[in-house]
């Protein structure tokens, strides 16, 4: 302990000397300075005359965007591969197994570089882009999709949010009803219907205009529509495929953890394949699955920092990289970056604990 204290004392002394030598002092006033560099991809408005604080926010939103997209796709792929591994069909279970073993033993950075430097580079230039039904285009400058624009974005967003809430509420109440009465009711279909019909009704009744703008080739590149820049596409694809292999293993292990007797009991009372899965296996497996799964989601968040290797402007690339080079405020910027990741990690950790507490088996 004394040694640690001495070390800290010497380190702080060195810090003061170094800061004095460079004419710097610790402080966050640089956040109000003009950044003066362009960022290729941002979700919130940005120009080079904006401040470093804005750069920080763009870094966070870009990191969260990649993380959320990678989580969605890796979950879908991972669940599919995990369930396929347990399939009776030999070709399906074998190919899922090969996929998992092939992918998870390669470094994530290698996945990202292969997608960015090999797979997406092999796409043609915009002039010869692969067209998907003349509305979407694949090219080495990015994937161009038709954009949805509306004159009342706030109203539409509100309608979609409301529809989601209503669908969720309906789904819950139908499930509760089914459980109480023992009657078989379709829970998915009404929920899905309300999810689609409510926004459609709002659009129809209020006369909101919804336009599709299609990407069009002008000169050497496309204009209009939404563009997925190659950096984002490569990062999301590589991270989804890499992390799905781990999620597949977690899904497989959690389903295997459900006692075989449970399945046999379900078969004995006449449950079919889907009913067994839905009412017997999944509720028990999810309790085993969720803690490691959320850990894997945290790994995706942390792995998104690899974006810096291919130049996607995430928090590490744009803030910890470029901003440190320009301002020299290494200590403040590294501390802020780490604080963001730590805060999200601790938040999700707390949510896991809450979930564990809520789904614990209550012994009677």
């Amino acid at each position: 302990m004394a040694a640690l204290a001495l070390l800290a004392y010497v380190a702080i002394g060195n810090l003061q000397d170094n800061l004095a030598a460079r004419g710097l002092r610790i402080g966050f006033d640089f956040l109000r300075q003009e950044a003066g560099f362009e960022i290729a991809f941002h979700l919130i408005p940005y120009s080079s005359s904006d401040t470093y604080w804005r750069v920080f926010l763009i870094g966070i939103t870009n990191t969260l965007l990649v993380t959320v997209l990678a989580i969605i796709f890796s979950t879908i792929l991972g669940f599919a591969a995990g369930i396929a591994q347990l399939s009776v069909n030999w070709t399906l279970s074998r190919s899922a197994r090969i996929y998992v073993e092939l992918v998870r033993n390669l470094p994530q950075l290698l996945h990202i570089l292969i997608w960015y430097n090999v797979a997406l580079r092999a796409l043609p230039a915009p002039k010869q882009a692969h067209a998907i039904g003349d509305v979407a285009y694949l090219s080495n400058r990015g994937i161009f999709l038709p954009a949805v624009t509306t004159d009342r974005p706030g109203l539409l967003a509100l309608a979609i949010l409301l529809a989601m809430a209503a669908a969720l509420a309906l789904f819950r109440s139908l499930t509760v009803y089914a459980e109480r009465t023992g009657r078989q009711v379709s829970t998915w279909l009404p929920a899905l219907a309300i999810l689609v019909l409510l926004p459609v009704a709002v659009v129809g009744l209020t006369g909101t205009q919804i336009d599709l703008s299609f990407p069009q080739l002008r000169g050497f590149n496309f204009v209009g529509g939404w563009v997925l820049v190659p950096e984002l596409t490569a990062l999301v694809l590589a991270m989804a495929i890499y992390n799905a292999a781990f999620i597949a293993e977690l899904v497989r292990a959690s389903i295997e953890s459900v006692n075989k007797g449970q399945r046999e009991a379900a078969a004995a009372i006449g449950f079919g394949w889907w009913q067994t899965l839905r009412f017997i296996v999944i509720p028990q497996a999810i309790r085993v699955l969720l803690p490691p799964l959320s850990n894997q989601y945290l790994n995706i968040l942390k792995g998104s920092s690899l974006a810096v290797a291919i130049g996607y402007p995430d928090l590490v690339g744009v803030f910890t990289g470029i901003s440190i080079n320009q301002t020299g405020r290494a200590i403040e910027i590294v501390a802020m970056t780490m604080a963001v990741y730590l805060a999200i990690s601790l938040l999700i950790g707390a949510l896991i604990n809450l979930f564990n507490h809520m789904t614990r088996i209550i012994e009677r």
């Binding site: 060195n14 009776v88 069909n89 190919s95 092939l102 033993n105 470094p107 570089l113 780490m338």
Partner: protein, 373 residues
């Protein structure tokens, strides 16, 4: 003529021997059960087989049939096949990085020592594991460092920015693995310590490392640490990366080991105390041997992720096995050969990781056998 055909047909239908009598129907039965149980299953099987065949059809000609194995530049390679000439020409760069060609016997000796140490440590039948650990932790790093760096006894000095390729990856991975496990054990013990100051320090360190990406730790080591060192000192990036990997992975090792410590029944501690063992003797002779045994899969998983994480040193400008590909394709003669480079590097990483996980399975099976007997 007609008769012969009938006899042949009858013969072929008649079982030739009892063994084949069982196997053909068994195969059919297996196919029916596992591939064609229902028309939906059959459809899925056919779709999967077609897909796999299509993938093999597009990759195998590229890798083997249309590939070019020798050549002086990318132009010598066939356009539709892999250009393995890139890898064969740059092979020594992939292995040694920019290490001076005349001095490459030095990394060779290091590789040989490393193999000796690893075999000693990993083959269960070879005795004296304690000395193997001593060799890996104390002897090998110093010997390897001195030999690679040189600058004494007539050995020319080779600065660490010329080390690269597989050599660098092995330096990072092996030093990371051999040091992070013992340090992780110390942190795991510290986290369960009864002294609050030590406990809080260990909890804080472990949770911090697990909460931030490895890249930010590297950035901290490269851009932030120099502020805390005496002005004028310029730390070696390789040394910083090694220290970063060791401590970052030690936090993960600590959590794995803690799982094993928690799984041990309390009676083990009490029994050790009853026969008068102090804290360290309890830990070393009673608790750790049992706890570590329980967490072999976790330790190996952390080891594999450490091995894969060594590729991140690319962002601090080190040329490890993955980044050496970029160095290779920056040669104008070989521009555009990334696919071949990544293929080979991927193969090496895959073999190392998969080998480690197979090794972990044999170790577990050995423990399971020992427990049963």
């Amino acid at each position: 003529m007609n008769d012969t055909a009938t006899i042949l047909a009858a013969n072929s239908r008649r079982p030739a021997s009892p063994a084949s009598a069982g196997s053909a129907p068994r195969l059919l039965n297996w196919l029916r059960r596992r591939l064609f149980a229902s028309w939906r299953d059959a459809l899925v099987s056919m779709a999967v087989i077609t897909l796999l065949a299509a993938i093999a059809w597009s990759i195998i000609p590229w890798v083997l049939i249309d590939a070019t194995w020798r050549g002086a530049s990318r132009n010598d390679c066939a356009p539709d096949g892999a250009c393995w000439a890139f890898v064969t020409t740059k092979a020594s760069q992939f292995i040694y990085g920019f290490y001076p060609p005349t001095e490459r016997w030095r990394p060779d000796i290091v590789f040989a020592l490393l193999i000796v140490g690893l075999v000693w440590l990993m083959v269960p039948r070879i005795p004296k594991k304690g000395y193997a650990w001593l060799f890996m932790i104390a002897v090998l790093p110093l010997a390897a460092f001195a030999l690679l760096r040189g600058g004494f006894a007539g050995l020319p000095f080779v600065p660490s920015d010329q080390w690269g390729g597989l050599l660098l990856t092995m330096i990072l991975a092996v030093s990371g693995i051999t040091f992070s496990l013992p340090i992780g054990v110390l942190f795991a013990l510290g986290r369960r310590s009864r002294m609050p100051l030590i406990r809080w320090f260990c909890i804080g360190f472990i949770e911090f490392c697990r909460g931030v990406p490895f890249l930010t730790v590297l950035f901290m080591a490269i851009v932030m640490l120099p502020f805390f060192l005496p002005s004028g000192t310029k730390p070696d990036p390789l040394a910083l990366a090694v220290v970063g990997i060791i401590f970052y992975e030690a936090a993960y090792m600590a959590e794995v080991v803690r799982g094993g410590l928690q799984a041990l029944p309390k009676g083990q501690y009490e029994a050790a105390m009853t026969i008068g063992f102090g804290y360290w003797r309890t830990m070393i002779y009673i608790i750790l041997p049992q706890a570590l045994r329980k967490v072999v899969p976790g330790v190996v998983n952390t080891t594999i992720s450490l091995l894969k994480n060594t590729t991140l040193v690319m962002v601090v400008g080190l040329f490890d096995l993955l980044n050496i590909v970029s160095a290779g394709v920056s040669d104008p003669l070989w521009a555009g050969s990334q696919a071949e480079g990544y293929f080979i590097v991927g193969l090496v990483f895959w073999l190392m990781s998969f080998g480690l996980s197979c090794y972990s399975r044999t170790i577990e099976a050995g423990f399971a056998r020992a427990d049963r007997s």
